[in-house]
């Protein structure tokens, strides 16, 4: 057994101090954990930021290239637009030249050839066609292309295509071949092709229907 002669006020104060110490310790531990967790998060954020900066600096040249490419594409588009505008002003009218040639060729054969249908189609290239890389071509083809198409300073053609289609009749097969030769000699439509011939009897007379097609580029 024991007795306790400590005053109750002192005992209460001692208990209060003990509780304060325990609470302080508890809060101290919590604060420490909070600081540690916070440090961990801050460290993670800092690491992420460092990695972001490193990655950003590594892809910076690529971004610059992309920007430059976009600039060049813009410049190219602007130049093409200018070329198109210039072509409208500068380029010769092939249709007129071809009609001149055609009348000469037909007239030289004394009415043995008769043209019934003549059609010229002009096709302008799209942006995709312009950006598409050219397929490698054989040397002969290159030569013919060089000779037949206009080339812009950066090595590309303007892409404007002239497609000609013609139907007619002839009383002699020889006259058709002469007309094709005459047209091929001219550089208006470098690629002239006799697509078809067909013999028919009209009013007990045999005639030949023919179809020509030609393609030209600028």
């Amino acid at each position: 057994m024991h007795v306790n002669l400590l005053p109750s006020s002192f005992v209460w104060r001692r208990l209060a101090r003990k509780r304060i110490r325990q609470w302080t310790l508890g809060f101290g531990c919590l604060f420490f954990l909070f600081v540690v967790a916070n440090q961990h998060l801050v460290l993670g954020l800092w690491k992420g930021r460092c990695e972001y900066h490193a990655l950003h600096s590594s892809i910076e040249p690529i971004c610059e290239l992309q920007n430059r490419q976009a600039d060049l594409a813009n410049q190219s588009g602007a130049l093409l637009q200018k070329i198109k505008q210039l072509k409208v002003v500068v380029s010769p009218d092939r249709t007129t030249s071809f009609l001149g040639l055609l009348s000469q060729g037909v007239g030289a054969d004394e009415g043995k050839i008769q043209i019934r249908e003549f059609q010229v189609t002009v096709t302008e290239p799209t942006k995709q066609d312009l950006n598409r890389p050219k397929a490698p071509q054989s040397t002969n083809t290159e030569k013919s292309t060089k000779s037949s198409t206009a080339v812009v300073p950066d090595g590309r053609t303007t892409g404007i295509q002239y497609q000609m289609s013609m139907r007619g009749i002839s009383t002699e097969g020889e006259s058709i071949s002469k007309l094709v030769d005459e047209l091929q000699k001219s550089s208006v439509f470098p690629e002239i092709e006799l697509r078809s011939t067909q013999e028919r009897f009209v009013s007990e007379r045999m005639i030949q229907e023919f179809q020509l097609e030609g393609v030209g580029h600028e």
Binding site: M1, H2, V3, N4, L5, L6, P7, F10, R14, R19, Q22, W23, G26
Partner: protein, 379 residues
């Protein structure tokens, strides 16, 4: 949060019960004794002990010499000054003991002990009556006095009254010592009374709790006799004339030596003065003659106490004597008392840790050890 803390306290007490007791501090006029015990199963082991002398003791001018070191502080000065003179020593000793908690007691009659006969009534009523009675007697306010009491289980067949033991102390004194201890780094958990501490010390040393033991604390200022049974103090007496200081003064006066030298003569381990004087009653030297006469008066007081105890506590007649306190350093005193009283007498003893070195008189720390063991009783 409070319930959570209580839950943690429960876990701590259940699973992490400390084996070390608090620091027991016995504050006396002559010295301050400190001890810490450890409980190993049912065994007690003394782990650490230390004694702090008061730095500016009172020296009896009749026995002062140039190299006088022996002395004490008068009770009034100790009460008013508290532990402030020994504060630095206590602070430096803090590291010697485990934990901050301590239990203390004030010896040499600073805590006043009295026995009062009260009419049969409840515990709270008895306590109130005791408090008012003591306050009236000391002529002080009830709030200025700290009083505790316990039933001595003695019977008064004629008056049908119950006998209560009371201990009282001024509140200001208790606060002063508790605060001084706190400032020194100790957290005072209890301020016990000497008879209770002696009863606990007896239980620590005597395994058979059913035995009635007359425990004697041979202190410097007074000898305290307490009859203990089943860990309860049934009777207590403080006899100032049997304090060691009285012995030493007598020896110093007779032989013209200082009190320190008288203490050296009394405690010297080579002699066995008391036993020889007791056996033959033919004293070979004046010191033994002196001790013989003191032993005679001691025996008379003991006989009176035993006789009184046999009257009031018939079922608790002492069957053995247990000696503790600094007086147990007198060689052969236990055997001498045993022969004179006719009861077996032993010096208080428990196991001692290997950490304690030197030839320590551990019985001097019995009360401090009992205070240290309060840690386990408080749980």
């Amino acid at each position: 949060m409070s319930s959570l803390l209580s839950y943690f306290d429960q876990i701590r007490h259940q699973w992490l019960a400390p084996s070390f007791g608090w620091t027991g501090i016995e504050i006396g006029c002559h010295e301050i004794k400190m001890a810490q015990v450890r409980k190993l199963g049912s065994r007690w082991q003394l782990e650490a002990v230390w004694t702090v002398d008061h730095p500016t003791p009172y020296v009896n001018p009749n026995h002062a010499s140039s190299e006088e070191l022996f002395g004490w502080i008068p009770i009034d000065k100790l009460k008013s000054g508290g532990l402030s003179p020994t504060f630095e020593n206590l602070v430096s000793l803090k590291s010697l003991f485990r934990g901050r908690n301590c239990a203390a007691t004030l010896t040499d009659g600073i805590i006043e002990y009295r026995e009062l006969d009260l009419p049969p009534c409840g515990v709270s009523e008895s306590h109130a009556m005791v408090c008012s009675e003591i306050a009236l007697e000391k002529e002080c306010e009830l709030e200025e006095l700290l009083t505790e009491c316990w039933d001595l289980l003695q019977t008064r067949p004629r008056s049908q009254a119950s006998c209560f033991a009371t201990v009282s102390l001024e509140k200001s004194t208790a606060l002063r010592f508790a605060r001084d201890l706190m400032n020194a780094g100790f957290e005072c958990r209890a301020l016990d009374a000497v008879p209770c501490a002696m009863a606990r010390a007896t239980s620590m040393a005597v395994e058979d709790g059913e035995q009635s033991v007359l425990t004697i604390d041979l202190g410097y200022q007074q000898a305290t006799l307490t009859l203990v049974k089943q860990g309860q103090p049934l009777l207590s007496r403080g006899i100032r004339s049997l304090g060691l200081v009285s012995w030493l003064e007598s020896i110093a006066t007779s032989f013209g030596v200082s009190m320190s030298d008288a203490q050296t003569l009394l405690f010297q381990s080579t002699g066995n003065h008391v036993e020889k004087s007791c056996e033959n009653f033919e004293f070979s030297n004046p010191l033994q003659q002196k001790l013989g006469s003191y032993l005679q008066s001691f025996t008379v007081e003991l006989d009176r106490t035993i006789h009184f105890a046999s009257q009031v506590c018939r079922s608790a007649s002492p069957t053995q004597i247990l000696l503790m306190g600094p007086g147990t350093r007198i060689p052969g005193i236990d055997q001498a008392l045993a022969r004179r009283i006719g009861l077996p007498a032993n010096i208080w003893s428990i196991d001692v840790s290997e950490n304690l070195f030197g030839n320590q008189c551990i019985a001097a720390y019995a009360i401090s050890a009992a205070l240290s063991s309060l840690a386990f009783e408080a749980q």
